[in-house]
Amino acid sequence: MSDRRTTLRAAIAAIPDGATVALGGNTLHRVPCAAVHEIVRQGKRGLQLVKTAGAYDVDLLCAAGCAEAVAAGFIGFETPFGMAPAYRRAVESGAVEAREHVCASVIAGLRAAIQGVPFMPLAGMTGSDLPAARGFRFVADPYGGPAVVAIPAITPDVAIVHVQETDAAGNARIVGSRFEDVLMAQAARRVIVTTERIVPRIDADLVAIPGFLIDAVVEAPGGAAPCSCAGEYDYDADALGDWIAAAKTADGARQWIDARLLAPAATR
Protein backbone atom coordinates (compact mmCIF):
# COMPACT_ATOMS: atom_id res chain seq x y z
CA MET A 1 0.00 0.00 0.00
CA SER A 2 1.44 3.35 -1.02
CA ASP A 3 2.03 6.14 1.46
CA ARG A 4 0.45 9.20 -0.10
CA ARG A 5 1.01 11.71 2.72
CA THR A 6 2.37 15.12 1.82
CA THR A 7 2.14 18.75 2.92
CA LEU A 8 -0.67 21.08 2.04
CA ARG A 9 1.83 23.37 0.37
CA ALA A 10 3.18 20.63 -1.89
CA ALA A 11 -0.26 19.24 -2.70
CA ILE A 12 -1.60 22.63 -3.76
CA ALA A 13 1.64 23.61 -5.56
CA ALA A 14 0.99 20.77 -8.00
CA ILE A 15 -2.20 22.46 -9.25
CA PRO A 16 -1.42 24.48 -12.38
CA ASP A 17 -3.01 27.84 -13.12
CA GLY A 18 -6.07 27.35 -15.27
CA ALA A 19 -6.88 23.95 -13.80
CA THR A 20 -10.43 22.68 -13.45
CA VAL A 21 -10.83 22.20 -9.70
CA ALA A 22 -13.74 20.37 -8.11
CA LEU A 23 -14.40 21.30 -4.48
CA GLY A 24 -16.06 18.86 -2.11
CA GLY A 25 -18.63 19.63 0.55
CA ASN A 26 -21.84 21.58 0.17
CA THR A 27 -22.69 25.19 1.13
CA LEU A 28 -21.38 25.56 4.71
CA HIS A 29 -20.44 21.94 5.33
CA ARG A 30 -17.27 19.85 5.04
CA VAL A 31 -15.74 22.31 2.60
CA PRO A 32 -11.97 21.93 2.02
CA CYS A 33 -11.28 25.42 3.40
CA ALA A 34 -7.66 24.84 4.44
CA ALA A 35 -6.88 23.87 0.84
CA VAL A 36 -8.83 26.85 -0.47
CA HIS A 37 -6.86 29.16 1.83
CA GLU A 38 -3.62 27.65 0.52
CA ILE A 39 -4.77 28.20 -3.09
CA VAL A 40 -5.27 31.87 -2.19
CA ARG A 41 -1.82 32.02 -0.56
CA GLN A 42 -0.16 30.49 -3.58
CA GLY A 43 -1.94 32.99 -5.82
CA LYS A 44 -3.33 30.51 -8.35
CA ARG A 45 -5.00 32.09 -11.35
CA GLY A 46 -7.60 31.12 -13.90
CA LEU A 47 -9.14 28.25 -11.95
CA GLN A 48 -12.30 26.69 -13.34
CA LEU A 49 -14.28 25.75 -10.24
CA VAL A 50 -16.75 22.86 -10.14
CA LYS A 51 -19.23 22.49 -7.28
CA THR A 52 -22.88 21.65 -6.80
CA ALA A 53 -23.63 24.19 -4.06
CA GLY A 54 -20.84 26.49 -2.89
CA ALA A 55 -20.49 29.39 -0.51
CA TYR A 56 -17.35 30.59 1.33
CA ASP A 57 -14.97 28.55 -0.85
CA VAL A 58 -16.21 29.91 -4.16
CA ASP A 59 -16.77 33.40 -2.80
CA LEU A 60 -13.21 33.61 -1.45
CA LEU A 61 -11.60 32.26 -4.63
CA CYS A 62 -13.56 34.84 -6.64
CA ALA A 63 -12.53 37.65 -4.30
CA ALA A 64 -8.86 36.62 -4.40
CA GLY A 65 -8.76 36.57 -8.19
CA CYS A 66 -8.04 32.83 -8.34
CA ALA A 67 -11.22 31.83 -10.16
CA GLU A 68 -12.04 32.44 -13.79
CA ALA A 69 -15.26 30.42 -14.03
CA VAL A 70 -17.66 28.71 -11.64
CA ALA A 71 -19.67 25.70 -12.82
CA ALA A 72 -22.26 25.19 -10.08
CA GLY A 73 -25.92 24.83 -9.30
CA PHE A 74 -26.08 27.25 -6.38
CA ILE A 75 -23.69 29.75 -4.83
CA GLY A 76 -24.91 31.29 -1.60
CA PHE A 77 -24.52 31.18 2.15
CA GLU A 78 -28.05 29.94 2.84
CA THR A 79 -30.55 31.42 5.19
CA PRO A 80 -28.25 32.54 7.96
CA PHE A 81 -26.19 34.76 5.68
CA GLY A 82 -27.67 35.16 2.19
CA MET A 83 -25.98 35.75 -1.13
CA ALA A 84 -22.26 35.39 -1.88
CA PRO A 85 -21.07 38.98 -2.24
CA ALA A 86 -17.69 38.48 -3.93
CA TYR A 87 -19.04 35.90 -6.37
CA ARG A 88 -21.90 38.22 -7.28
CA ARG A 89 -19.54 41.13 -7.84
CA ALA A 90 -17.09 39.07 -9.86
CA VAL A 91 -19.81 37.73 -12.15
CA GLU A 92 -21.54 41.07 -12.50
CA SER A 93 -18.23 42.74 -13.43
CA GLY A 94 -17.38 40.04 -15.96
CA ALA A 95 -14.28 38.92 -14.04
CA VAL A 96 -15.75 35.47 -13.45
CA GLU A 97 -18.00 33.46 -15.72
CA ALA A 98 -21.03 31.90 -14.03
CA ARG A 99 -21.47 28.54 -15.74
CA GLU A 100 -24.79 27.86 -14.12
CA HIS A 101 -25.84 24.25 -13.84
CA VAL A 102 -28.71 22.50 -12.24
CA CYS A 103 -26.96 20.62 -9.41
CA ALA A 104 -28.05 17.43 -11.16
CA SER A 105 -26.18 18.42 -14.32
CA VAL A 106 -22.95 18.83 -12.37
CA ILE A 107 -23.54 15.28 -11.17
CA ALA A 108 -24.37 14.15 -14.72
CA GLY A 109 -21.17 15.69 -16.07
CA LEU A 110 -19.11 14.02 -13.35
CA ARG A 111 -20.86 10.72 -14.07
CA ALA A 112 -19.98 10.99 -17.75
CA ALA A 113 -16.32 11.46 -16.81
CA ILE A 114 -16.47 8.59 -14.34
CA GLN A 115 -18.01 6.27 -16.91
CA GLY A 116 -15.63 7.30 -19.70
CA VAL A 117 -18.34 8.58 -22.02
CA PRO A 118 -18.53 11.99 -23.69
CA PHE A 119 -21.93 12.99 -22.30
CA MET A 120 -24.64 11.92 -19.90
CA PRO A 121 -28.35 12.13 -20.73
CA LEU A 122 -30.29 13.98 -18.04
CA ALA A 123 -33.99 13.94 -17.25
CA GLY A 124 -35.90 17.15 -16.71
CA MET A 125 -34.71 20.60 -17.87
CA THR A 126 -37.88 21.04 -19.92
CA GLY A 127 -39.08 24.62 -19.99
CA SER A 128 -35.80 25.93 -18.59
CA ASP A 129 -33.73 28.59 -20.34
CA LEU A 130 -30.56 26.93 -19.01
CA PRO A 131 -29.85 24.53 -21.90
CA ALA A 132 -29.97 27.37 -24.42
CA ALA A 133 -28.04 29.78 -22.20
CA ARG A 134 -25.37 27.19 -21.43
CA GLY A 135 -25.17 25.49 -24.79
CA PHE A 136 -26.37 22.14 -23.46
CA ARG A 137 -27.43 20.16 -26.52
CA PHE A 138 -30.15 17.59 -26.93
CA VAL A 139 -29.54 14.08 -28.13
CA ALA A 140 -32.06 11.90 -29.92
CA ASP A 141 -32.96 8.61 -28.27
CA PRO A 142 -31.68 6.02 -30.77
CA TYR A 143 -34.56 3.77 -29.70
CA GLY A 144 -37.16 6.28 -30.82
CA GLY A 145 -38.15 8.02 -27.58
CA PRO A 146 -38.06 11.78 -27.15
CA ALA A 147 -34.79 13.69 -27.21
CA VAL A 148 -33.09 14.35 -23.91
CA VAL A 149 -30.56 16.90 -22.68
CA ALA A 150 -26.95 15.70 -22.95
CA ILE A 151 -24.56 17.07 -20.35
CA PRO A 152 -20.94 17.05 -21.50
CA ALA A 153 -18.43 15.21 -19.31
CA ILE A 154 -16.89 17.25 -16.49
CA THR A 155 -13.38 15.92 -15.84
CA PRO A 156 -11.76 17.93 -13.06
CA ASP A 157 -8.00 18.19 -13.27
CA VAL A 158 -8.05 18.07 -9.49
CA ALA A 159 -10.68 17.23 -6.91
CA ILE A 160 -10.13 18.50 -3.39
CA VAL A 161 -12.16 17.02 -0.57
CA HIS A 162 -11.94 17.31 3.19
CA VAL A 163 -12.82 14.28 5.31
CA GLN A 164 -12.79 13.27 8.94
CA GLU A 165 -10.38 10.35 8.66
CA THR A 166 -7.93 8.68 6.30
CA ASP A 167 -5.09 6.22 6.56
CA ALA A 168 -1.66 7.04 5.13
CA ALA A 169 -2.67 5.55 1.77
CA GLY A 170 -5.62 7.89 1.55
CA ASN A 171 -8.47 5.46 2.18
CA ALA A 172 -10.98 8.06 3.29
CA ARG A 173 -13.86 7.88 5.70
CA ILE A 174 -16.58 10.49 5.46
CA VAL A 175 -18.79 10.86 8.51
CA GLY A 176 -22.29 12.07 7.66
CA SER A 177 -23.28 13.48 4.30
CA ARG A 178 -21.01 12.46 1.44
CA PHE A 179 -22.34 15.16 -0.91
CA GLU A 180 -20.63 14.85 -4.33
CA ASP A 181 -17.19 14.11 -2.90
CA VAL A 182 -17.05 10.49 -4.02
CA LEU A 183 -18.16 11.35 -7.54
CA MET A 184 -15.59 14.16 -7.72
CA ALA A 185 -12.82 11.82 -6.58
CA GLN A 186 -13.80 9.25 -9.21
CA ALA A 187 -14.09 11.78 -12.01
CA ALA A 188 -10.92 13.77 -11.41
CA ARG A 189 -7.46 13.21 -12.88
CA ARG A 190 -5.87 13.92 -9.48
CA VAL A 191 -7.37 13.85 -6.01
CA ILE A 192 -6.21 15.75 -2.94
CA VAL A 193 -7.73 14.74 0.38
CA THR A 194 -7.30 16.85 3.47
CA THR A 195 -8.24 15.08 6.65
CA GLU A 196 -8.94 15.89 10.27
CA ARG A 197 -6.61 13.04 11.20
CA ILE A 198 -4.64 10.15 9.79
CA VAL A 199 -5.28 6.84 11.52
CA PRO A 200 -3.52 3.50 11.15
CA ARG A 201 -6.42 1.71 9.56
CA ILE A 202 -10.06 2.25 8.59
CA ASP A 203 -12.65 -0.51 8.44
CA ALA A 204 -13.13 -1.25 4.72
CA ASP A 205 -16.91 -0.92 5.03
CA LEU A 206 -16.50 2.67 6.24
CA VAL A 207 -14.19 3.80 3.43
CA ALA A 208 -16.00 6.21 1.10
CA ILE A 209 -13.07 6.83 -1.26
CA PRO A 210 -10.49 4.08 -1.76
CA GLY A 211 -6.88 5.15 -1.45
CA PHE A 212 -5.93 4.06 -4.94
CA LEU A 213 -8.00 6.96 -6.30
CA ILE A 214 -6.10 9.44 -4.13
CA ASP A 215 -2.88 11.23 -5.09
CA ALA A 216 -2.16 13.33 -2.02
CA VAL A 217 -3.21 13.02 1.62
CA VAL A 218 -2.75 16.01 3.88
CA GLU A 219 -3.39 15.97 7.62
CA ALA A 220 -5.24 19.22 8.26
CA PRO A 221 -7.07 19.33 11.58
CA GLY A 222 -9.79 21.96 11.40
CA GLY A 223 -9.39 21.91 7.63
CA ALA A 224 -13.05 22.64 6.94
CA ALA A 225 -13.23 25.72 9.21
CA PRO A 226 -14.95 28.16 9.12
CA CYS A 227 -17.36 25.64 7.58
CA SER A 228 -18.67 22.66 9.54
CA CYS A 229 -17.23 19.17 9.74
CA ALA A 230 -19.80 16.61 10.91
CA GLY A 231 -18.91 15.02 14.21
CA GLU A 232 -16.00 17.46 14.63
CA TYR A 233 -17.19 21.06 14.70
CA ASP A 234 -20.05 23.31 13.63
CA TYR A 235 -19.65 26.16 11.17
CA ASP A 236 -18.27 29.35 12.67
CA ALA A 237 -21.13 31.80 12.24
CA ASP A 238 -19.02 34.72 13.47
CA ALA A 239 -16.19 34.06 11.04
CA LEU A 240 -18.56 33.60 8.10
CA GLY A 241 -20.50 36.73 9.03
CA ASP A 242 -17.23 38.61 9.30
CA TRP A 243 -16.20 37.50 5.80
CA ILE A 244 -19.55 38.43 4.31
CA ALA A 245 -19.46 41.86 5.93
CA ALA A 246 -15.92 42.49 4.66
CA ALA A 247 -16.67 41.12 1.20
CA LYS A 248 -19.51 43.57 0.60
CA THR A 249 -16.85 45.70 -1.10
CA ALA A 250 -13.84 44.70 -3.19
CA ASP A 251 -11.58 46.70 -0.88
CA GLY A 252 -13.01 45.07 2.19
CA ALA A 253 -12.49 41.63 0.74
CA ARG A 254 -8.91 42.44 -0.24
CA GLN A 255 -8.07 43.73 3.23
CA TRP A 256 -9.65 40.69 4.86
CA ILE A 257 -7.63 38.36 2.64
CA ASP A 258 -4.43 40.29 3.26
CA ALA A 259 -4.89 40.28 7.00
CA ARG A 260 -6.24 36.78 7.47
CA LEU A 261 -4.51 34.75 4.79
CA LEU A 262 -1.53 36.57 3.31
CA ALA A 263 0.08 38.32 6.28
CA PRO A 264 3.11 36.34 7.52
CA ALA A 265 1.46 35.78 10.89
CA ALA A 266 -1.57 34.29 9.12
CA THR A 267 0.35 31.38 7.68
CA ARG A 268 -0.51 28.25 9.57
Binding site: L28, T52, F74, Y87, E92, V102, C103, A123, G124
Partner: protein
Amino acid sequence: MSAAERGAPEQMAVAIARALRDGETVFHGVASPLPMVATLLAKRAHAPNLVYLSIAGGVDAEPERLPRSTVDPALLHGARAMVTLADLFDLSARGRLDVAFLSGVQIDGTGRINMSAIGPFARPKVRLPGGAGSALLMPTARRTMLWRTRHDRRVFVETLDFVTAAGNVDRVVTPLCVFRREAGRLAVDSIHPGVTPEQIVAATGFPVEVGPETPLTEPPTADELALLRAIDPERVVASEFAGG
Protein backbone atom coordinates in the same frame (compact mmCIF):
# COMPACT_ATOMS: atom_id res chain seq x y z
CA MET B 1 -45.66 44.69 13.12
CA SER B 2 -43.50 42.49 10.93
CA ALA B 3 -44.78 39.45 9.07
CA ALA B 4 -42.77 37.26 11.42
CA GLU B 5 -44.37 38.95 14.42
CA ARG B 6 -47.84 38.53 12.88
CA GLY B 7 -47.35 34.78 12.87
CA ALA B 8 -46.83 34.48 9.12
CA PRO B 9 -44.09 31.83 9.54
CA GLU B 10 -46.42 29.55 11.47
CA GLN B 11 -49.27 30.24 9.06
CA MET B 12 -47.04 29.32 6.12
CA ALA B 13 -45.69 26.23 7.86
CA VAL B 14 -49.12 24.82 8.58
CA ALA B 15 -50.39 25.69 5.10
CA ILE B 16 -47.46 23.72 3.65
CA ALA B 17 -47.72 20.87 6.15
CA ARG B 18 -51.41 20.32 5.48
CA ALA B 19 -50.69 19.91 1.77
CA LEU B 20 -48.38 16.94 2.45
CA ARG B 21 -50.04 13.53 2.43
CA ASP B 22 -49.23 10.43 4.39
CA GLY B 23 -46.86 8.11 2.56
CA GLU B 24 -45.45 10.73 0.22
CA THR B 25 -41.73 11.08 -0.42
CA VAL B 26 -40.84 14.70 0.27
CA PHE B 27 -37.56 16.51 -0.44
CA HIS B 28 -36.08 19.88 0.43
CA GLY B 29 -32.69 21.25 -0.52
CA VAL B 30 -30.46 24.09 0.64
CA ALA B 31 -31.80 27.24 2.31
CA SER B 32 -35.17 25.70 3.15
CA PRO B 33 -36.05 26.28 6.83
CA LEU B 34 -39.80 26.59 6.24
CA PRO B 35 -40.13 23.32 4.27
CA MET B 36 -37.96 21.58 6.87
CA VAL B 37 -40.23 22.67 9.71
CA ALA B 38 -43.41 22.04 7.72
CA THR B 39 -42.37 18.52 6.73
CA LEU B 40 -41.49 17.61 10.30
CA LEU B 41 -44.84 19.05 11.39
CA ALA B 42 -46.77 17.03 8.80
CA LYS B 43 -45.00 13.85 9.84
CA ARG B 44 -45.95 14.41 13.47
CA ALA B 45 -49.44 15.74 12.82
CA HIS B 46 -51.06 13.55 10.16
CA ALA B 47 -48.46 11.86 7.91
CA PRO B 48 -46.42 9.41 10.01
CA ASN B 49 -45.45 7.41 6.90
CA LEU B 50 -44.28 10.43 4.95
CA VAL B 51 -40.67 9.85 3.86
CA TYR B 52 -38.63 12.90 4.79
CA LEU B 53 -35.66 13.42 2.49
CA SER B 54 -33.25 16.33 2.52
CA ILE B 55 -30.10 17.40 0.76
CA ALA B 56 -28.17 16.43 3.90
CA GLY B 57 -28.97 12.86 2.90
CA GLY B 58 -30.86 11.62 5.92
CA VAL B 59 -33.98 9.52 5.40
CA ASP B 60 -36.62 10.24 8.05
CA ALA B 61 -34.24 12.17 10.24
CA GLU B 62 -35.51 13.23 13.65
CA PRO B 63 -33.32 16.25 14.39
CA GLU B 64 -32.72 17.07 18.03
CA ARG B 65 -32.29 20.73 17.17
CA LEU B 66 -33.26 22.49 13.97
CA PRO B 67 -30.43 24.11 12.04
CA ARG B 68 -30.74 27.31 10.02
CA SER B 69 -28.61 25.85 7.25
CA THR B 70 -30.71 23.01 5.87
CA VAL B 71 -27.66 21.07 4.70
CA ASP B 72 -26.49 20.82 8.30
CA PRO B 73 -25.40 17.48 9.80
CA ALA B 74 -28.11 18.10 12.40
CA LEU B 75 -30.49 16.83 9.70
CA LEU B 76 -28.94 13.37 9.90
CA HIS B 77 -29.81 12.76 13.53
CA GLY B 78 -32.03 9.73 13.95
CA ALA B 79 -32.06 9.01 10.20
CA ARG B 80 -33.02 5.48 9.17
CA ALA B 81 -30.82 5.45 6.06
CA MET B 82 -28.51 7.73 4.12
CA VAL B 83 -28.79 8.71 0.49
CA THR B 84 -26.75 11.05 -1.66
CA LEU B 85 -27.95 14.07 -3.56
CA ALA B 86 -27.41 12.06 -6.75
CA ASP B 87 -29.77 9.39 -5.39
CA LEU B 88 -32.39 12.05 -4.66
CA PHE B 89 -32.21 13.60 -8.11
CA ASP B 90 -32.42 10.11 -9.62
CA LEU B 91 -35.49 9.37 -7.51
CA SER B 92 -37.19 12.43 -8.94
CA ALA B 93 -35.90 11.83 -12.46
CA ARG B 94 -37.54 8.41 -12.56
CA GLY B 95 -40.85 9.77 -11.29
CA ARG B 96 -40.69 8.46 -7.74
CA LEU B 97 -40.41 11.73 -5.81
CA ASP B 98 -43.81 12.97 -4.71
CA VAL B 99 -43.00 16.45 -3.48
CA ALA B 100 -40.09 18.82 -4.05
CA PHE B 101 -39.83 22.15 -2.26
CA LEU B 102 -38.38 24.99 -4.29
CA SER B 103 -38.38 28.74 -4.29
CA GLY B 104 -37.76 31.56 -6.72
CA VAL B 105 -36.29 35.02 -6.54
CA GLN B 106 -38.89 35.74 -9.21
CA ILE B 107 -42.05 33.67 -9.74
CA ASP B 108 -44.39 34.26 -12.68
CA GLY B 109 -48.11 33.65 -13.09
CA THR B 110 -47.56 30.15 -14.46
CA GLY B 111 -45.38 29.13 -11.51
CA ARG B 112 -42.10 29.30 -13.37
CA ILE B 113 -39.10 30.57 -11.39
CA ASN B 114 -35.99 32.65 -11.86
CA MET B 115 -33.06 31.89 -9.56
CA SER B 116 -30.34 32.82 -12.08
CA ALA B 117 -30.04 36.47 -12.99
CA ILE B 118 -31.68 39.88 -13.03
CA GLY B 119 -30.79 41.40 -16.37
CA PRO B 120 -29.02 39.49 -19.15
CA PHE B 121 -27.86 36.00 -18.15
CA ALA B 122 -24.37 36.40 -19.61
CA ARG B 123 -23.70 39.77 -17.95
CA PRO B 124 -26.32 40.19 -15.26
CA LYS B 125 -27.28 43.27 -13.34
CA VAL B 126 -27.69 40.97 -10.33
CA ARG B 127 -26.19 37.50 -10.35
CA LEU B 128 -28.51 35.32 -8.29
CA PRO B 129 -27.48 32.10 -6.48
CA GLY B 130 -28.71 29.72 -9.18
CA GLY B 131 -31.56 27.27 -9.20
CA ALA B 132 -29.78 24.41 -7.38
CA GLY B 133 -31.84 21.32 -8.29
CA SER B 134 -34.91 23.11 -9.59
CA ALA B 135 -34.54 22.57 -13.36
CA LEU B 136 -34.43 18.84 -12.74
CA LEU B 137 -36.91 18.65 -9.89
CA MET B 138 -39.69 20.92 -11.14
CA PRO B 139 -40.40 18.93 -14.30
CA THR B 140 -39.90 15.49 -12.75
CA ALA B 141 -41.24 15.56 -9.18
CA ARG B 142 -44.94 14.75 -9.07
CA ARG B 143 -45.68 17.99 -7.25
CA THR B 144 -43.53 21.01 -6.63
CA MET B 145 -44.41 23.24 -3.74
CA LEU B 146 -42.99 26.74 -4.00
CA TRP B 147 -42.69 28.95 -0.99
CA ARG B 148 -41.45 32.49 -0.60
CA THR B 149 -41.42 34.60 2.54
CA ARG B 150 -41.72 37.83 0.60
CA HIS B 151 -44.84 38.61 -1.40
CA ASP B 152 -44.43 41.73 -3.53
CA ARG B 153 -44.23 42.75 -7.17
CA ARG B 154 -40.46 42.21 -7.32
CA VAL B 155 -41.03 38.52 -6.54
CA PHE B 156 -44.38 37.82 -8.22
CA VAL B 157 -43.73 39.19 -11.69
CA GLU B 158 -45.50 39.25 -15.01
CA THR B 159 -42.29 38.31 -16.88
CA LEU B 160 -39.23 36.51 -15.56
CA ASP B 161 -35.81 37.87 -16.49
CA PHE B 162 -34.74 34.24 -17.01
CA VAL B 163 -36.59 30.95 -16.72
CA THR B 164 -34.43 28.84 -14.44
CA ALA B 165 -37.04 26.13 -14.11
CA ALA B 166 -40.61 25.25 -14.97
CA GLY B 167 -42.72 22.24 -14.23
CA ASN B 168 -45.25 20.56 -11.99
CA VAL B 169 -46.00 23.38 -9.60
CA ASP B 170 -48.90 22.52 -7.33
CA ARG B 171 -48.97 25.29 -4.74
CA VAL B 172 -47.16 28.50 -3.91
CA VAL B 173 -47.27 29.50 -0.26
CA THR B 174 -46.54 33.11 0.71
CA PRO B 175 -47.04 35.27 3.81
CA LEU B 176 -50.29 36.53 2.26
CA CYS B 177 -51.94 33.56 0.62
CA VAL B 178 -51.77 30.13 -0.95
CA PHE B 179 -51.76 29.94 -4.72
CA ARG B 180 -52.72 26.77 -6.56
CA ARG B 181 -52.01 26.20 -10.19
CA GLU B 182 -55.16 25.61 -12.19
CA ALA B 183 -55.16 25.30 -15.99
CA GLY B 184 -51.56 26.41 -16.00
CA ARG B 185 -52.06 29.67 -14.04
CA LEU B 186 -51.54 30.50 -10.40
CA ALA B 187 -54.86 31.27 -8.71
CA VAL B 188 -55.43 32.34 -5.12
CA ASP B 189 -56.63 29.22 -3.32
CA SER B 190 -56.95 30.78 0.11
CA ILE B 191 -56.09 34.05 1.76
CA HIS B 192 -54.45 34.16 5.16
CA PRO B 193 -56.38 35.61 8.08
CA GLY B 194 -55.77 39.33 8.47
CA VAL B 195 -54.83 39.83 4.82
CA THR B 196 -57.10 41.72 2.42
CA PRO B 197 -57.77 40.87 -1.22
CA GLU B 198 -56.50 44.33 -2.12
CA GLN B 199 -53.15 43.62 -0.46
CA ILE B 200 -52.71 40.53 -2.61
CA VAL B 201 -53.60 42.32 -5.84
CA ALA B 202 -51.26 45.15 -4.97
CA ALA B 203 -48.41 42.79 -4.11
CA THR B 204 -48.74 40.55 -7.16
CA GLY B 205 -47.30 41.50 -10.54
CA PHE B 206 -49.52 39.18 -12.55
CA PRO B 207 -53.32 39.33 -12.65
CA VAL B 208 -55.08 37.44 -9.85
CA GLU B 209 -58.72 36.99 -9.05
CA VAL B 210 -59.31 37.43 -5.36
CA GLY B 211 -62.19 38.88 -3.44
CA PRO B 212 -64.47 38.49 -0.47
CA GLU B 213 -65.55 35.06 -1.78
CA THR B 214 -61.95 33.73 -1.62
CA PRO B 215 -61.69 31.14 1.18
CA LEU B 216 -59.67 31.95 4.26
CA THR B 217 -56.62 29.83 5.03
CA GLU B 218 -57.44 27.98 8.21
CA PRO B 219 -55.25 29.50 10.91
CA PRO B 220 -52.90 27.22 12.82
CA THR B 221 -54.78 25.17 15.37
CA ALA B 222 -53.71 25.02 18.99
CA ASP B 223 -52.49 21.47 18.37
CA GLU B 224 -50.44 22.57 15.37
CA LEU B 225 -48.92 25.45 17.29
CA ALA B 226 -48.05 23.15 20.17
CA LEU B 227 -46.40 20.69 17.78
CA LEU B 228 -44.51 23.54 16.13
CA ARG B 229 -43.23 24.70 19.48
CA ALA B 230 -42.11 21.17 20.31
CA ILE B 231 -40.38 20.63 16.96
CA ASP B 232 -38.93 24.10 16.63
CA PRO B 233 -38.56 25.77 20.01
CA GLU B 234 -36.02 28.27 18.66
CA ARG B 235 -38.43 29.33 15.92
CA VAL B 236 -36.11 28.56 13.04
CA VAL B 237 -39.31 28.66 11.00
CA ALA B 238 -39.06 32.46 11.14
CA SER B 239 -35.44 32.64 10.06
CA GLU B 240 -36.27 33.43 6.45
CA PHE B 241 -38.12 36.56 7.51
CA ALA B 242 -36.45 39.89 8.14
CA GLY B 243 -35.53 39.91 11.80
CA GLY B 244 -36.35 36.17 11.97
